[in-house]
Each structure stands twice: as C-alpha cells, then as structure tokens.
Symmetry: C2
Subunit: 199 residues, 2 copies
C-alpha cells in the first residue's frame, strides 16, 4: 500500500530519492540535510521530493526504515563452535557490524541522545536487536554452564549485559578518538569475558 499510486516504471525515482536521503541523513544528520541537497543529489527538484513524501519528517522516517534494513545478526556463523568461541565470535560480529555501519549507528545514537524526534518504531527496533543480542549471549553462557564447561556462580543474564555494555563502551570510545586504538581492547574483552567464565 503506497500513499501515491504508481505507474509502470515502478518507483524508480522515488527509490533514488529515498536512497540519497538515507545516505545524507546518516552522513550529516537531520538538521544539516536540507531538502535542496537531497533534491540536487537525486537529480530532481525539491518539489518532487515533497510530492513523493509529503514532508521532510515523513521522508526522514522512510529513510530510517531503509537504513535499518541491514540490521540483523547472522547466527549461522556460530554453528559447531564451543561456547567460549561462540562468545568471542559474537563479540566480533557485533563489532564488525558497527564498524561497517558507522554512519547509521552514529545517526541512531544521535537520535536517541538528542531527545527530540524519537521515532518510536525505530527506537523500538534497535532495542529489539539489542535484546536479541543479549539473549543470544545469555543463552550461550547458560548452555556452557549446563555442559559443565562454565562455572555456575555467574548470572548469565547479567554477564551478558556486562559484556554488551563493555562492547558499547569500546565503540563509543572509538567514536571519540577517530583513530582506531580499540582493537587491542576488543581482544582483551574477548579474553577476559571468556576466561572468567571457565570452570
């Protein structure tokens, strides 16, 4: 169901606008992305952008949706690994994912921190992914406890939260100092997180 009926060429132009907008919003943020730039880089007029999306706000929401598409975690990657290795791999996956999506991750953080303009559905989706990741970690820890490889005096849920918090903290630091000095710390996190679990 679309707001505007479409002709035979499907929404080619509409899509081009959307892709451009997603890129520009991610690169420069909402406030610093005037419709004129979106229009110019999409090689259309401002009026057409608004004809397709009614308002800048709606364009923004539509673009956010597109930006969220690649957000998922590839669990297949973990098959056949021992619990310790699974945890290390998950940490790596999270890290790589953020590294490959710096722009949009930055955008989301900014969105949430700014307070204003919190598209509830988007925030919810991000929280959901966060929760999935944490559950995955917690499940692996619990499973390691059952198999006797991990010590049983740790709380899987809290440990998972702590690992995730450390991971987020490392990434934040990476945002602050542009140069990448975080690889060392990431390795240390992997070591520490797993070692403290070993029975």
């Amino acid at each position: 169901m679309r707001e505007h009926p479409q002709g035979d060429q499907a929404g080619q132009t509409r899509d081009r606008i959307l892709a451009t907008a997603a890129r520009l919003f991610a690169e420069h943020g909402y406030e610093h992305t005037p419709l004129s730039h979106v229009a110019r880089e999409s090689q259309v007029s401002k009026a057409l952008v608004l004809w397709h999306f009614d308002s800048k706000e709606k364009l923004f929401r539509a673009a956010l949706g597109r930006t969220l598409e690649p957000y998922f975690i590839d669990v297949d990657d973990l098959a056949g690994l021992a619990e310790g290795a699974q945890i290390e791999r998950l940490i790596e996956l999270f890290y790589e994912f953020v590294r490959d999506n710096v722009y949009s991750v930055r955008l989301f953080f900014g969105l949430i921190l700014n307070g204003e303009r919190r598209p509830d559905d988007v925030v919810e989706r991000v929280n959901e992914l966060y929760a999935i990741f944490r559950s995955l970690l917690a499940d692996i820890i619990a499973s390691g406890q059952l198999s006797g490889r991990f010590r049983t005096d740790v709380e899987p849920r809290l440990d998972a939260s702590l690992i995730l918090a450390a991971l987020v903290g490392i990434l934040i630091e990476r945002f602050m100092h542009d140069e990448d000095q975080s690889a060392e710390l990431l390795t240390y996190l992997k070591q520490t997180a797993v070692r403290r679990l070993i029975a």
Copy 2:
C-alpha cells in the same frame, strides 16, 4: 580579560544570559535552541545577546565552558580504603557524577556523535577527564598488584579501560531506556571487576 569592558555592576546580565543559554543548550541541543528563546528566558532582547557574545557559535562555546565547570573527580574520597574498595568507590563516583549531570553529559555525547561542531577545547577537556579517571583506576590496580592483593597476570591499563568501557556502556543503556534498571548491573560490575582481580 573580557571582550567587552564592563561597568560597575559587573556582568550580571551577561551572566544571566550565559546561565540560561547553558541550560537551554543542554536541554534541547544547539539546533533546537534559537537565540530568541535564550533572549526571552533571560528577559532581554536578541540584540543584547548578540552584543554580549557576537554570534550564536561563540555563545555556545561560552556556555559549554560553564557547563564543564563541575566536571572533576574528588579523589579525597578514596583515602584509607583498600584497593578493591577504592575501585568500587571510583565506579560509584563516576556513575553518580553522570547521574547528576545527565543534561550536559547528554549534550557532550551528542556533540561528539554528531560530528559537526566539535569544539576542540571542550572535547579535549572531556577526554582529559576520561584519561584521568582511567589512570586513577590503572594506578590502583597496579598498586594492588604490588601489595600482593591483586593477581599479577592482568594488565592494569587494559583492565582500567575495560571497566571504564563497561561503565560507559551501562550509562548509554540508561539513556536509551529512561527507567532506571541499571542499578543492578552497576552492582554486578563492581563485584565482577574487583573479584577477577583478587589474587
């Protein structure tokens, strides 16, 4: 040394403007704080605001400076405690500090994440405080190793970084979900961080 010479009443009005600006910038961010609001809430005209600070950008920098003033760590609080307790106390201090300065901390994060408008001096000052905190932690850990209370197979510098990262991650999560579910995690961090150091 001031840009504008001052009369006998010192900079009363100037100060009121500055305080208002600091509050509004922290609450709503740079983009969503027009000079007209600063002027209205300071009960002066826009022109006067600009007469005192020349431009919005300069007003912003001045306000940031004021916001940074309460940023320090009270080391006296640690005297007489054992290393483990010192670490726990430092974690609490950091946490309480952020809790008591949510607005400005949020502002700084936003500032850094946004990419645009990175007042170098301010960012540098925040980094400095960050570094001080990390050094404090690292020194305590090293001292605990020397006194034989902590195990020697951990790297003080990296361990300090990891604790700090976890702390930051917890705070970020607190920003995302407004309700405070982070107390439990904080306690767990204190326990975990110290326990893994014990010889």
